[in-house]
């Protein structure tokens, strides 16, 4: 996290008001790079302004948790509380980041290469 980070006026609404005093997300499956997508067709009524913004942000496609927190100008731990609420209420869906394709071991490749070279 590099220091120059755009902040909206963060001093105004404090995070405990945003999370209603909670610090623990209802689920611990959220990671910094977990991808978040808005579930379409959900009513936004009754959501807090931050949650509405999450929905707006995620409508265009998947965002990672850390991106959402950056856009909201909230700490990631606070964002996780919000996101797990939204998952509970069915407003967003999450999925773990796509793992890197399993590539064969570099050493194995090297050996194959060496073998091929020695052959031809």
């Amino acid at each position: 996290m590099t220091p120059p980070r755009p902040r909206r006026d963060r001093g105004l609404v404090r995070p405990y008001v945003v999370t209603d005093g909670r610090a623990h997300p209802t689920r611990n499956t959220l990671d910094l790079v977990t991808l978040v997508t808005a579930v379409s067709g959900r009513s936004l009524s009754g959501l807090s302004p931050e949650k509405r913004r999450v929905m707006e942000l995620c409508r265009g496609g998947a965002l990672s948790v850390v991106e959402v927190s950056g856009h909201l100008g909230l700490a990631t731990s606070v964002t996780k509380v919000l996101l797990s609420d939204l998952v509970d209420s069915g407003h967003i869906s999450i999925r773990p980041p796509i793992p890197k394709a399993q590539l064969p071991d570099a050493q194995l490749l090297q050996e194959v290469l060496d073998g091929l070279r020695s052959r031809f």
Binding site: M1, P6, D9, A23, P49, E56, L57, G61, A62, V78
Partner: protein
């Protein structure tokens, strides 16, 4: 011998007659003297009474009441008041009143000055602490740590509000220049600063924002009202806040289900809320009740108004804070941090390809000049590489004013995957420019990792 008798009688009469006359005169004089004595005794007594009344009642009242000679009881003897003596007494009262008022204002002034200085230091500390708490919240990604930080944050916010309130009463500014903020954020900001913030429920029907200069005072005033509402109602009740449009402004309506106020309290509150009354900080009671006084000062200074004379449908008090249009912006503001960054206007989406060739001097992106060009960290390089491929798929279907703005967010861990292509293009060109100009300007190899 007998001839002596008439002579004797004559002589007797001759002496008795004057004696009788003298006696009569004497008795008259003494009667008159007695009368005079009693009357002057009475006068003396009444003057003594008057002086005692002056010292024990009138001057004492003058010391007690802050409102000067007007509220002091009159003299005992109305007749005496017309005499020179009475006039002198009045003069004494007047001089005493003036001296007392001067002393009081001097004391008030010096108390205010001393308090202002002390409180300003506290305010600065509270702000500083809030910043470091925010940084800690960013830094730690552990719910247990966050819970503790939230508690500290909450306590600090209340502390800051108290300091601010005292500062305002002492004639200082509320401090903290803020950006124009939506009304709902203003109310929630106020909610952040009271103890029972979880009991406050905000319902908003408006998108209106409060102008920059009025944000902090309105937050402070609403916080004081909310604090009153929460403090004077049962812990299991909620404090309902509504934000409604009004004829030429907007109202913030705060309802509590508490005990309410009696007529006298309402009068007192209205007087303080008017802001016309001089606040004597020595007379706010112990513990000092400065909530309404602070609101009054702020309302008078910034031109909003507050009333608490209605009963809430929930049984308690309904406080209404009315904001005139002069303090409102009709449109929800683009967040200013955003506004600064959107100065690079939207590019035709074709220029997105410029992002892929970021190493090249991407020509058509002149406005990007205004972006900070100095940041040539390796993280930026990573951004460039990861951006090029997946971008087009991830562009916002519904670009909001904010999204392009926040682009400068984390330069870490590749969140740039989601940046709109236009912005990436502008950044990349800015980056390229920066690299070039950096190379041109200096000999060191700072920029080398990029090419």
């Amino acid at each position: 011998m007998t001839q002596h008798i008439p002579e004797a009688v004559f002589w007797c009469l001759a002496t008795a007659a004057p004696a009788a006359v003298l006696l009569v005169r004497q008795s008259r004089i003494s009667a008159r003297l007695r009368r005079r004595l009693t009357s002057s005794e009475a006068a003396l007594r009444s003057r003594e009474e008057e002086v005692r009344h002056l010292v024990e009642v009138r001057l004492a009242a003058l010391v007690e009441t802050p409102h000067g000679a007007a509220s002091v009881p009159g003299p005992l003897d109305a007749e005496l008041a017309t005499t020179a003596y009475g006039a002198n007494l009045e003069k004494v009262v007047e001089m005493f009143a003036n001296a007392a008022a001067a002393a009081r204002s001097r004391a008030d002034q010096s108390a205010k000055t001393a308090l202002k200085g002390a409180v300003r230091a506290l305010q600065a500390l509270a702000n500083e602490q809030q910043l470091s708490i925010s940084d800690m919240q960013d830094r730690h990604d552990n719910p247990d740590v966050l819970r503790d930080l939230l508690e500290i944050d909450h306590a600090n916010a209340q502390f800051g509000r108290r300091a601010q309130a005292i500062a305002v009463l002492c004639g200082s500014w509320p401090g903290r220049q803020r950006d124009a903020s939506p009304l709902i954020d203003v109310v929630r900001g106020a909610t952040s600063r009271i103890r029972d913030y979880r009991r406050v429920k905000v319902h908003s029907q408006m998108e209106t924002a409060v102008v920059s200069r009025a944000v902090e005072p309105v937050v402070l005033a609403v916080a004081e009202l909310l604090d009153n509402a929460a403090r004077h109602s049962q812990p299991n009740t909620t404090v309902e806040v509504g934000i409604r449009p009004a004829h030429n402004g907007a109202s913030i309506i705060i309802d509590d289900a508490g005990v309410g106020m009696d007529t006298h309290e309402v009068e007192e509150a209205t007087r303080r809320l008017s802001g016309r009354e001089d606040i004597d900080i020595n007379r706010l009671g112990d513990p000092p009740q400065f909530g309404f006084a602070v609101i009054g000062v702020l309302a008078a200074r910034y031109g909003f108004s507050v009333s608490v004379d209605t009963q809430s449908p929930y049984g308690g008090v309904r406080a209404v804070l009315f904001l005139p249009n002069t303090l409102l912006e009709r449109k929800a503001p683009v967040e200013p941090a955003a506004a600064r960054r959107t100065e690079a206007p939207a590019f035709p989406s074709g220029t997105a390809s410029a992002g892929e060739a970021a190493g090249e001097p991407a020509a058509p992106t002149a406005p990007a000049l205004s972006l900070p060009t100095a940041r040539t960290s390796p993280a930026e390089a990573a951004v460039r590489e990861s951006t090029a491929g997946g971008l087009p798929k991830r562009r916002r279907r519904e670009p909001r004013p904010l999204t392009p703005a926040d682009g400068a967010t984390p330069t870490d861990s590749g969140p740039a995957l989601v940046r709109p292509a236009t912005e990436t293009a502008s950044r990349m060109s800015a980056f390229a420019r920066g690299t070039r100009s950096g190379r041109g300007a200096s000999q060191d190899s700072e920029g080398n990792p990029q090419e």
